[in-house]
Amino acid sequence: MIDRRPFVQKILKNRKDNLRVVSGIGTSTWDIMSAGDNKGNFGFIGAMGQSIPFALGLAKSQPDLRILLFTGDGDTLMSLGSMATVANHPVNNLTIVVLDNESYVETGSQPTATAGKSDLELIAKGSGISNSYTVTNENDYEKIMNTIYVEEGPSLIVVKCQAKATPLVFPYSFDGSVSINRFMSSIKS
């Protein structure tokens, strides 16, 4: 099991200029913010289930950028059909990293479906995202970096994480219009 916070920080350290990062509601947003403020980040703090469709729309609109979505098992489980949409309207520049701690940690660590019988890698593959795999230890760091920056997407990586609460790291702004305009300025420039 991976300690998600330092792992996300490691992935985002020395990030390349062509990377834009989106995060789903919950701990994922605090995770990417903990790696340092960056105009090329857009973090959801609501609209659960919409981060995968959002990342798909962004990837389709910016084919020369690499789009990386960090999200959780809870957010992903809410919109499983979006995996089928990603698979059938493919973009080669999208990587979805599901930080799967098998629980709704922010609400009291209730178990999610992945703590039971459900497997997001198999769901992704069954939806048609063929480049899907699961990692359980940090030795796969180089493989993940290659997927994010080099491999033809769409890809989905399930990162099995420890289910522990981590400190909240707030974004530049909680105002969505400030956040999205700042993010868009990183694309125009």
Binding site: S82, A84, S179, M184, K188
Partner: protein, 175 residues
Amino acid sequence: MTGINKDWRNDIYAVFKDLNITMVSHVPDAGHTPLINLCEKDNEIDVVTLTTEQDGVGLSCGAYAGGRKSALLMQSSGVGNCINALALPNICRIPFLTIVSMRGEWGEFIPWQVPMGLGTPKVLEAMDIKVFRADYKDEVGSTVDAAARFAFNTNRSAAVLLSQKMIGAKQFKNG
């Protein structure tokens, strides 16, 4: 923009072209089919078939963040699926445009269409969506044009309801 084409779907398509809307997502409805077909024939428009209407909200917002304008096509029954997702364009002031074919309001045959048909304008307004309505074929183009300009010029969400009176209610036959 008013009723210049024989089929009002062509008038909607003309608005898409005029305003450079290059992504169209949908959960299909028979009322939208001619428009979907027009968009699919156009190499400049990406047509994305969704599994649930709410994903069209996120998709549309992501496309806008990347610099592209889009529209979501759905039937009134899909509006209810979108409610929480509509927080995204609202709080981010992202322009969002949806075109809704109405069921359950004019000569409807299927009772199951009535609850969401009655609820559609109320639900949209409850989420601060500006609701436009087209009851006649010759006003479709100008209404979609006005709604799209409202959305993209003022960074807000707009919906056009295409009335069942105009689309026509299908009468089903058993056997």
